[in-house]
């Protein structure tokens, strides 16, 4: 392997970063579902979300990565942490972590996993390999053109949905309506 290909342009050490990030995501995911303290789970989920944003950057989707960091890690997780602080009581710490049907749950998840494995091994040749070599510098502009052009209706519906969610959350968390 010549030295200059190691110093070559564009994606640097893609397999290393992919395996490192996917390792972080999987370990974080396992920590989310197994920790007793919900604040630890929230911290692990923040790690998963940030690693996910890095994987979006690897997939050449910088705008989605930015939205993920701002909305998910910087917005939704703050909401989760606030609510955890409000409902965290000592009695919860003494209860069992997993419920009584945990074995059935594991069996169902294993069945689902088997289904995934079957789909991905049998249907492997329906994913053709175009190696896209263009590094998009105008990803944001393309997303904006599509979002305000072809998907304008969905955009307006999403804003209406957010309005409904705001009103719903405020009404449900109020003490006296």
């Amino acid at each position: 392997m010549a030295v200059d290909t190691a110093f070559n342009m564009a994606p640097v050490a893609t397999p290393f970063f992919f395996y490192m990030l996917s390792g972080i995501m999987l370990i974080g995911g396992i920590l989310v579902i197994t920790r007793k303290n919900p604040v630890h789970s929230a911290l692990a989920l923040i790690t998963v979300l940030l690693a996910q944003a890095a994987i979006y950057l690897m997939l050449y989707a910088p705008f989605v990565a930015g939205v993920q960091i701002i909305l998910y890690a910087g917005g939704i997780m703050v909401l989760f942490l606030f609510v955890i602080m409000l409902v965290n009581i000592d009695r919860a710490a003494k209860e069992r972590t997993f419920n009584s049907q945990w074995l059935v749950g594991i069996v169902a998840a294993t069945a689902l996993g088997g289904l995934f494995v079957a789909v991905y091994t049998k249907g492997n040749n329906i994913f053709p390999e175009h190696a896209l070599s263009v590094i998009e510098n105008d990803n944001t502009q393309k997303v904006a053109t599509m979002l305000y052009g072809q998907y304008m209706f969905a955009f307006e519906i999403a804003s209406l949905l957010l309005l409904v969610a705001i009103i719903g959350a405020v009404v449900m968390a109020k003490k006296r309506i």
Binding site: V3, N37, V67, A73, F82, E136
Partner: protein, 433 residues
């Protein structure tokens, strides 16, 4: 084979010097690491200088002298503070959540330092130029809210919890106003010849260069109002006076970092000043023209270019002259001999840096960085000025101002800016339906 490797390494290092991109865009890992190291070192020096400047300037505004004993005119005070903090006992409160207690300061420091990879000190002087530069900066600086909430929760005590909740509520509220002001500046970038705007930080400054006007003066007074909204929101975002109810000493006994001592507290302190420099960099890039020198179009021509390029060297020589002046005015007592020599030596170092910056080869390379740093330094001085001047806002007044004053103002400025930008084509379609 060994020579071949060295030769290729040297060629790899030198191949970047002739390109006109940032090292991240050019894919050159060595220079990326050099730039990251330079940003890290520069930021540390800036935080240390900010510590000294804050105490001295605040003291002079309050008609007193500030630290004068530790070094000549207190110049070694930040170093003494750092040594004291490193040597302090590391206390963890009983029944505190140890994992979260450890992670919280690192989260805040991570958020404060990661934003600096897209801050543009010059057209090629950034670590990288992301397509989503400003979005990345706003997003990563909102991660510090998580660190503050975790710090308050993990301390297992009343004052930090209330302080953390208030702090994070304030930061989240003013992020909305900041975002709207930023969007109205981004709208202005799309009014150049090619018709598409950009979110990349270097692209925003280049749009100001193309349109020939700093965005603070564009569509007067809309750019000014947007800048004002951002300037107020950024002070509230970094929990500084007059919005520092959550961490002021007289209110909540230092808020969310009450239970942190020693090195962990210094991490919060470092992160606070780095966040101040980061949001000032956003304000400078978006509205004040980034690395562009003042009056690029009005006072153009090679003589004015020459005069403006002398500013860095002259500034350092002026600082050196002030050092010598104060060294002469030191008391003529044997106890002060070392301090006088130290101050004179510091003046000599500054003078040498100034002379190096007058050399033409260095002059043309360093003036972008100098103008950017000078503008950010103006913002730092404004931060200290606000702290010495304004009384503190009460928390409900603070939240009311964020949601009921700045948010409608931001929306109004955004709509008016977009209308003003599209006014030619609106006019055209009115008269030629």
């Amino acid at each position: 084979m060994g020579h071949d490797l060295m030769g290729q390494l040297v060629q790899y290092i030198q191949s970047y010097l002739s390109s006109d991109q940032t090292p991240g865009a050019a894919g050159n890992m060595f220079w990326v690491l050099v730039y990251i190291l330079a940003v890290f070192v520069g930021l540390s020096i800036a935080v240390i200088a900010m510590n000294w400047l804050e105490r001295k300037i605040l003291a002079h505004m309050q008609v007193r002298l500030g630290p004068m004993r530790v070094g000549p005119h207190g110049l070694l005070q930040p170093i003494a503070d750092a040594i004291k903090l490193l040597l302090k006992e590391d206390i963890i409160p009983a029944e505190a959540d140890v994992a979260i207690f450890w992670v919280a300061p690192f989260m805040v420091v991570l958020a404060a330092f990661t934003v600096f990879i897209v801050v543009p000190f010059g057209p090629t002087h950034a670590v990288t130029d992301m397509n989503i530069g400003i979005l990345f900066m706003l997003g990563v600086s909102s991660l510090s809210v998580l660190g503050i909430v975790m710090a308050g929760w993990a301390s297992n005590s009343h004052y930090p919890l209330i302080g953390a909740l208030r702090s994070s509520a304030q930061m989240v509220s003013y992020e909305v106003a900041m975002g709207l002001a930023v969007v109205s500046a981004i709208v202005m970038t799309s009014l150049n010849a090619s018709g598409t705007g950009t979110l990349s930080m270097i692209g925003i400054v280049q749009a100001q260069q193309e349109q020939g006007v700093w965005f603070i003066f564009k569509f007067f007074p809309l750019g000014l109002i947007a800048f004002f909204i951002f300037a107020v929101a950024m002070v509230a975002e970094t929990n500084r006076a007059p919005f520092d109810l959550a961490e002021a000493e007289s209110e909540l006994t230092a808020g969310f970092h009450t239970e942190y001592s020693g090195f962990r507290w210094s991490l919060f302190f470092l992160a606070e000043y780095s966040a101040m420099i980061a949001v000032s960099s956003i304000a400078v890039t978006l509205w004040l023209g980034g690395w562009l020198r003042p009056f690029p179009n009005l006072l153009s021509g090679s003589t004015w270019d020459l005069i403006f390029s002398l500013f860095p060297g002259v500034t350092f020589l002026f600082l050196a002259a002030m050092c010598f002046f104060n060294a002469v005015r030191m008391p003529k007592h044997p106890f002060f001999r070392i301090q006088t020599i130290g101050l004179a030596g510091f003046g000599v170092v500054l003078g040498l840096i100034g002379l190096v910056m007058l050399v033409p080869a260095v002059r043309i390379r360093v003036q972008d960085i100098f103008w950017f740093a000078a503008k950010v330094a103006t913002f730092m001085y404004l931060y200290i000025w606000y702290r010495g001047t304004f009384p503190r806002y009460r928390f409900d007044q603070l939240m009311q101002m964020g949601w009921k004053v700045l948010l409608p103002m931001g929306l109004g400025v955004l709509i008016l800016t977009a209308t003003a930008g599209l006014w030619p084509s609106i006019q055209h379609s009115i008269w030629h339906p």
